[in-house]
């Protein structure tokens, strides 16, 4: 199963703007390098927040988790973060397993993410 990558930039919101990355298909040993390649220019810019929309992601392996980890690390160094939304149950379970492993901090940010998304939502409503 291939991987489709759609990178969307949120416009007009300077403080809370984020880049959304929609993934469709399978993020695995064969497709992870392509995601890494496509994320490189995004990560090289000023983007602080990446939101990975995983609604259509059917499969993930550690090769894909490594790309997420790398992105998160780079964003964190500039005070940003990577967030993960709309996970299907089987993907959610992989994340839960990763969270339970000692020394893996990458996927422990769900609470922060909720706070971040709530803030974005509020800002959006106030602008209307």
């Amino acid at each position: 199963m291939p991987l489709e990558i759609l990178i969307l930039k949120t416009v007009g919101d300077k403080t809370l703007g984020a880049v959304t990355v929609k993934l469709t298909g399978s993020l695995d040993t064969a497709t992870a390098p392509e995601l890494e390649r496509q994320l490189a220019p995004v990560l090289a810019g000023q983007t602080k927040h990446l939101v990975f929309d995983l609604a259509q992601l059917k499969f993930i392996s550690s090769a894909g988790l490594r790309v997420f980890s790398m992105a998160r690390k780079q964003l964190k160094e500039r005070g940003g973060q990577a967030s993960f939304v709309n996970m299907q149950p089987q993907i959610q379970e992989v994340f839960e397993i990763m969270k339970s492993l000692p020394g893996v901090a990458i996927f422990k940010d769900m609470a922060e993410l909720d706070a971040y998304l709530a803030a974005r939502q509020r800002a959006h409503q106030e602008n209307q």
Partner: protein, 140 residues
């Protein structure tokens, strides 16, 4: 069913797709099949990336077997002797954030299979992954 595969990521995913079709044809529950698929991807990737160092001329073999009460995946390669079942569990370190993620794959395999057994026969690594299927066919 046995597949002979070249040591490339694309061939790993060819094995994964074969497993998905194999499992669906035998009505393996979706959840069990997802776990097996992930375990196969991780173990086969290890063989391709480490044992065979992505040398596409090298081959490895994957055998899929459904015994009724279990699914068994066997992987065979001629790389250096390596027993992934002995891989250490990542340890918590001071400020253990963002550790090198090398051991993640094997941890996932542990969680998604019931048994992982490695043997070395002659020049060959043999890794057997077993997933027990509880009432696999009597459900839905």
């Amino acid at each position: 069913m046995t597949l002979k595969l070249h040591a490339t990521p694309e061939e790993v995913m060819r094995a994964v797709e074969a497993l998905q079709q194999f499992g669906q044809a035998r009505q393996i529950p979706e959840k069990a099949l997802f776990g097996l698929t992930l375990a196969l991807e991780e173990c086969a990737s290890n063989i391709v990336n480490h044992a065979l160092r992505r040398d596409a001329r090298q081959m490895f073999r994957v055998t899929l077997e459904h015994t009724g009460s279990a699914m068994v995946i066997e992987l065979r390669d001629h790389g250096p002797a390596f027993d992934p079942t002995q891989a250490p569990v990542p340890e918590m370190e001071a400020g253990g954030d963002d550790q090198p993620p090398g051991g993640w794959g094997i941890q996932l395999v542990r969680r998604y299979t019931d048994e992982m057994r490695h043997t070395r026969e002659g020049e060959e690594n043999i890794l057997r992954l077993t997933k027990r299927l509880v009432q696999a066919t009597s459900h839905k």
